[in-house]
Symmetry: C2
Subunit: 450 residues, 2 copies
């Protein structure tokens, strides 16, 4: 398809191109337009029907949008803006450099400008920042028939027509009516009769993660967002929430791997940006290994005598790290899905403690047998039974410590308002490394009288 | 609320309880019913209006559902089944022991039984397994008015009425019409005139991850699922896709942390089940550390002479592991979001190579300065400049190796049909550990002539 677009463009068969693209989906059109030079891009954009052009614009990445905006006349920019939903306009503005953002806001009409500034004012991770202000509001005493008249007249410019909100004279949210309810009711019934009064809603200041959990829990197509006085301010639609879910998941996964989250896709992120998102944690974690270095340093002379102990250091550290990250990652995910909360801390602790006893026992026995059978019996290595016991005891204690730390740190972080996701593998590994070495050398000193 | 339910139940004020619960949301009703004994549970369930009862049943976890099913008469089971959507019935059946599953299927009517068996037959990770068969099908020559008549007559039993599918005489999918299109069109227009012919669809055999990507890409409320002959078999609705997204994300995160995925929530998973999902990888990873042990063992006598080298082992392994897991996790996520594919392997490799050069350089210089200034100058430790250089060179080389392995392994795994997520931190850490020690001792042997 992309070749065909380029071909028609080069041979300047624009009316043919127009007919072809008009049949296409905005998302697909964007993919045909990748890597087209700016002057050709604006040419294609100008031949698209107005609404399709705006929908296509929304699907573009910010680089392509910026290229177009700089080629737009003020009138063209106004035309595109007038077709956009406010939340999409806000998303675009947020990605633009300040000068471009200002130009966009200047070209919006008064009402849109007000709405854009309203949404921009909410904190980044709040429900308010992801809502849109284009919803259908009905009144309690309207009939179903007049509701349809209203939907037909304003529906084209609303983000969804499938969920309508019922507000009172002071714009307070008093009910919700779905298009399904309307279609299945008699024309003369009033909205007040058929509306659902038990409305599920979010506050503008609620956290995005809570909004996600509400969508998951109640299977909704749109969620109304109200202010502290229960006035309807905006709605969040399910298609936007899917993007938010994926963003939040990517962010959590990145944090768990000690990466500062970025909102660009992998191939769009430059080398230096990638380095910037990765190097701080690498440096911090590397420097914090100074402690493990000191611990080993303190036992250096003992290790020089019992050199067999050295070979087990990586295994002990790894097993501790893996045990801890299994627990921390599970707990972080359960916190983020709302499966557990701070009040469950004792339940979680007790569960992880029992799991760690069993895992620790299995691992330490496996390890003891492995040293006895493989290392000593088959390979004939010079390892005493006492060393094998020291290593096995250490594994048992380390697994217990790792799993307890792995569950308590994320829950504690959440409690004091930190993001639990940073308490994942890399952080816990570094902590567990140091403690597991301390356990190792303490047990070794006791049993081997070093 | 839960107390109030219990109170009304104990004082047997059932009609009052019925009125109260009828106003409530199914999801909330389930939360009030937690920890209620079986005989009380069935009592509450019996007073709920039929449709609400079925909706509440769907929201319960499988334990509560099983409790109810065992208390149901065959007629009650049939009544609930007749109110369920087929995809929900399938979800329930999949969680039940075989005997209960059989009883459910036996009580379903012939058509439902056929649909249930159809969906059950698709592989677990396919589009077919998450679709439902209750959609609204329209014909090309129907008018908008008659479409509304059809929607009003069958709409109540369809999973969505907002997207209708146009099929030909052989049930092949030829178009799609939204309720919005219908509402905004004149009653006498035909479906053929207003339908969108460029339909986005999935095949029954498509992977769930591809379905997720399609929803994300095209912002849809429902996706039609067709067989190889383009016949419409079912649809997937957006509320179900949100659950699938969260499940897939949890699964990926668990795999990345070396946990076998489970589909129960954290607190619902028993101790032994948790152990079972964690211990295999812990044992495998622990045993694979045998190699690192051997590498250290081979250099034991050299380490006994140059004991200063031992203290840096944890730091080198950690830094390598963190560098590798940053890359692998980023690449795994990009693969799962569809941001990169196998064809991008050279782009990804080249990017990670450049990133690793910069990260490696920064880390090794930082480390060199830290040893010189902190360890030697301030703490007066007995570390020679050559040792500091050995450690710094090792870090540089290890970071490059870790990042390259971290990007190539997940892409390679995907290519040969394995899940890239298992190529994350724990696996890569173990590999990077062994190689980093080899690098360390090779450089040390050369520079320190061990």
């Amino acid at each position: 398809m992309q070749e065909k677009v380029l071909e028609l463009l080069e041979s300047r068969k624009l009316s043919e191109l127009k007919v072809m693209l008009s049949e296409e989906n905005p998302t697909d059109i964007v993919s045909y337009l990748e890597n087209i030079p700016q002057n050709e891009l604006i040419l294609v954009f100008r031949i698209l029907p107005k609404e399709l052009a705006a929908e296509t614009f929304v699907e573009m990445d910010s680089d392509m949008q910026m290229l177009l905006i700089s080629a737009f006349s003020d009138k063209e920019l106004r035309d595109v803006l007038s077709e956009l939903f406010v939340d999409d306009a806000v998303d675009i503005i947020e990605e633009m450099p300040a000068s471009v953002a200002k130009r966009i806001i200047r070209q919006a009409d008064a009402q849109t400008r007000k709405d854009i500034n309203l949404i921009l004012a909410y904190p980044d991770d709040s429900a308010g920042s992801i809502m849109t202000t284009e919803y259908i509001a009905l009144k309690r005493d309207m009939t179903v028939e007049s509701a349809f008249v209203k939907i037909r007249s304003v529906g084209l410019d609303k983000e969804t027509i499938y969920t309508c909100y019922v507000t009172d004279s002071r714009r307070r949210l008093i009910g919700v009516v779905t298009a399904k309810d309307l279609l299945l009711s008699a024309p003369e019934q009033t909205i007040g009769e058929i509306m659902e009064e038990n409305v599920i809603f979010s506050f503008t200041t609620d956290d995005k993660e809570d909004v996600i959990q509400t969508f998951e829990k109640y299977d909704m197509l749109a969620l109304p967002v109200v202010d502290t006085e229960n006035r309807l301010i905006g709605i969040i639609t399910v298609d936007d929430i899917i993007d938010v879910i994926q963003e939040e998941n990517t962010e959590d996964i990145e944090k768990m791997a000690a990466i500062s989250p970025s909102d660009k896709t992998y191939l769009k992120t430059g080398i230096f940006e990638t380095v910037k998102s990765r190097i701080p944690w690498l440096v911090i974690l590397m420097l914090s290994c100074t402690f493990t270095g000191w611990i080993i340093g303190a036992f250096e002379s003992a290790l020089a005598v019992q050199t067999a102990l050295i070979a087990f250091i990586p295994m002990i550290m790894n097993t501790g790290g893996n045990s801890g990250s299994q627990t921390s990652v599970t707990v972080i995910r359960a916190l983020s899905l709302g499966d557990i909360a701070f009040k469950d801390v004792f339940k979680v602790f007790f569960k992880e403690f029992r799991v760690s006893l069993i895992c620790g026992a299995i691992l330490s026995v496996t390890n003891y047998l492995k040293i006895l059978l493989l290392d000593i019996l088959i390979l004939g290595e010079n390892i005493t039974n006492t060393v094998a016991l020291v290593v096995s005891f250490t594994i048992f204690a380390t697994v217990i410590f790792a799993k307890i730390v792995g569950c308590l740190l994320p829950i504690g972080a959440k409690k004091i308002g930190l993001d639990p996701a940073v308490m994942a593998s890399p952080f816990i590994t570094t902590l567990v490394d140091a403690v597991s070495l301390l356990i190792y050398f303490t047990i070794a000193s006791a049993l081997l009288s070093l």
